[in-house]
Amino acid sequence: MTSTAQELHPAPTLEPGRTILELKGLEKRYPGTHALKPVDLAFKAGEIHAIVGENGAGKSTLIKLLTGVMPRTSGEVMWEGQPAALATPHEAMALGINAVHQEVVLCRHLTVAANMFLGEEDSRFGILQQRAMVRQAQKIIDDLGFDLPAHVVLGDLTIGQQQLIAAARATVRGTKFLIFDEPTAYLTRKEADQLFTLIRRLKGEGVTIIYISHRMEEVFELADRVSVLRDGTLVGTRNISETNDAELVKMMINRSIEQVYHKEHFTPGAVIVEARNLSGKGFENVSMSVRAGEIVGLYGLIGAGRSEFVTTLYGRHRKSAGQILWEGKEVQVNSEHDAIRLGMALAPESRRDQGLCLNLPVSLNLNLPIYKRISNNLLISNAQEKTEADRQIADLRIKTPTRNALASSLSGGNQQKIVIGKWLAHGAKLFIFDEPTVGVDVGTKAEIYRLFGALLSKGAGIILISSYLPEVYELADTLHVFRRGKLVATHGFRTADHEEILTQALAEKQEKLGGQT
């Protein structure tokens, strides 16, 4: 990588409007799953083409075929009129096809800069030009308007920030065709806006873009055309100006949804948990409480300290000051074990790192928290293990060939459903959901919110963390806004407007995020 950083994206040669990439009968079978039935689709040079569909519809599979990550079963891909084998990622990149995948696939132990130039390192006489690379990377990041340091280790950033780095990385590689697979899943509105600016700029430079998302408003904001996949079949393609939300949802799930945010109001009962002036790594002096029957929403930017706060409440990290009260009595929560014994349950933020045992069966993942309940002192009840797993699979419509399929073989959204599902049978008093609907499709989101209602009606309380404002806004009875580790504002159900909440979350956030991530 020498000097290419300056001429970021060499202008693609094709005139706009011509077909740049065409799929002819593209098909993919996994053992037990026909993920993509023959699909015909043409992408026009310079367009932003959105792809939507339910969890497990085959979106990511399509992307994996186009980027050479997986071999196709049959069919053809024409690149600028020529058949392309796309057998390896290298070949796809050489053509100018790049992707920002749903799960960040970068090296967590390397620095941001090293990741950006991975495979195209700048070296002189075989010696890596580390400083120069950090400088160049920083320049690119600043240029894109992302507020991130280039010298830190990637693993120290939040998932959302890593996603931005992945996006930045894709732009430095002479890209003609760029695919985003649910890029905003872990981003807050501000980061998402930065990303949209980047996407529009790329489009202006003639790059063709595929944009996959479960958020309809993003599709309408960005895309020129939109294609809908259902069960591995292309249901249709529409110009964005000629379609609407309801039609797309109807095409996606073959039925309509009257209301996504299903909100039931219960009269709040006794206080379940209370934090008094709680401080810990990443947050300071937070006081709040959760009552039975209420949803307490935590909104803020990524890195604002919400996840750190709840993991401390849950005993994963030590508090440095303050008190935790459980049902009115002060308690010491020294481990997750203590927390679970009290009656807490946590569905963590990162499904890959914290939520799932990927190379184990769906059934084991779903039952992990409740093995104690479904076994006597010695033996597990096989029947109960099956029933519990099957119930969650049915309730959450987890798309899997059998309950014994490995979690890694499920689509992203379906994996997320396991992270949620494993706590639903647990019977806790306080449920903490950290970004519970990341990558989950509209239909299932509605289902999850209904299940929230069911939990509340049984007298549980919920802490809901989301970086997606509409979600907390429409669901939370009490909404706390976090900014840089502090609780800065509190609202009731719909007592403030989006604008006000956003301002509170953003204010005085000009400096670099630097070390505090």
Binding site: H34, D353, Q354, L360, Y371, L378, L379, I380, R403, L406
Partner: protein, 321 residues
């Protein structure tokens, strides 16, 4: 996607069973070939001998498998076997009742396993390092205790045990069954077994799901230490001496058996029947090679090649699935 005619059966369990059957077929095939190739193989005497040889590694391999499933490794088992022969020999010769001598030896194995758990969980040492340290130091301690001499055990009943048979099957092989059945139930039908897998797959996710990760790790190494001490008792009974340098390299044979039996060194994949079959396949190869007068050096080479071949094909099939 379409889930083609939802196979209600579980592909994973099927796969496990299939792999087990393949190993069993391989073992039977070896036996048939050897029976044809050398007349002495099929003799009752030789078969008993083979079962005795294989049994001890098989028990070690079961304990080792628990550890490997959590993503760890236990390099100390061979040394623990040697050390246990010394302990049991000394206790018996000191006049401690047989039952008590054996119990104390087993507890020593448990203590060694707990120490490994402590090193990994509390001191944060990698399993490879802490068990490697035990491997060398236990042999040293044993040599100090015996001044480098062998202790011959003066208790005939104790030695008779390993030479006798029950229902025509050598007692040592019965011990495999004695260990194997509870181990199978533990690994596949108890929640502790599930926790071994989940910790090996993703410790953080397990922790957040309420699994006591530390206790699970303690448990795996303790069971491995216990199995090793038990094998030490059996070995002492078989050779009639206590000697800390016995069982040299058995840890590698145990690991090899486990891996041949389908255990993944990356953790979270493994069974009980696989390592048992693996151990007897290795024992058959050694036994057959002896009978065929194959140079002992070649036996090692064959074992190495076999490990590569079996693990390669296992990996291919898994990926194909």
């Amino acid at each position: 996607m379409s889930t083609e005619a939802i196979p209600a059966e579980k592909p994973k369990r099927n796969y496990n069973a299939l792999f087990g059957l393949t190993l069993l077929a391989l073992l039977v095939l070896l036996w048939i070939i050897l029976s044809v190739a050398t007349p002495s193989f099929a003799s009752a005497n030789n078969i008993s001998n083979l079962l005795r040889q294989g049994s001890m590694i098989a028990i070690l391999a079961v304990g080792q498998t628990f550890v490997i499933i959590t993503g760890g490794i236990d390099l100390s088992v061979g040394a623990v076997v040697g050390f246990a022969t010394v302990i049991v020999a000394m206790l018996i010769n000191a006049g401690v009742p047989l039952f008590l001598a054996i119990l104390i030896t087993l507890l020593v194995g448990v203590a060694i396993g707990m120490f490994h758990g402590f090193g990994i969980v509390k001191m944060g040492l990698p399993p490879f390092i802490i068990t490697l340290a035990t491997l060398t130091s236990l042999r040293g301690i044993g040599l100090l205790m015996t001044n480098g001499n062998s202790i011959s055990i003066n208790n005939d009943a104790f030695q008779l045990f390993s030479r006798s048979s029950f229902l025509g099957v050598p007692n040592l092989f019965w011990m495999v069954i004695l260990v194997g059945i509870p181990a199978y139930i533990f690994l596949h039908h108890s929640r502790w077994g599930r926790y071994l897998f989940s910790v090996g797959s993703n410790a953080e996710a397990s922790r957040l799901s309420g699994v006591n990760v530390q206790r699970t790790i303690y448990m795996a190494y303790t069971l491995s230490g216990l199995c090793a001490a038990f094998v030490g008792v059996l070995l002492a009974s078989r050779i009639g001496i206590g000697n800390p340098t016995q069982a040299e390299g058995w840890e590698l044979q145990a690991i090899a058996s486990s891996v041949i039996g389908g255990t993944s060194l990356f953790g979270a994949v493994g069974s009980v029947h696989g390592p048992l079959l693996g151990a007897f396949i290795l024992a058959t190869i050694n036994n057959g090679a002896n009978l065929l007068n194959v140079n002992a050096f070649w036996q090692r080479i064959i074992t190495g090649a076999l490990i590569i071949v079996i693990v390669y094909f296992d990996g291919l099939r898994r990926r194909g699935k």
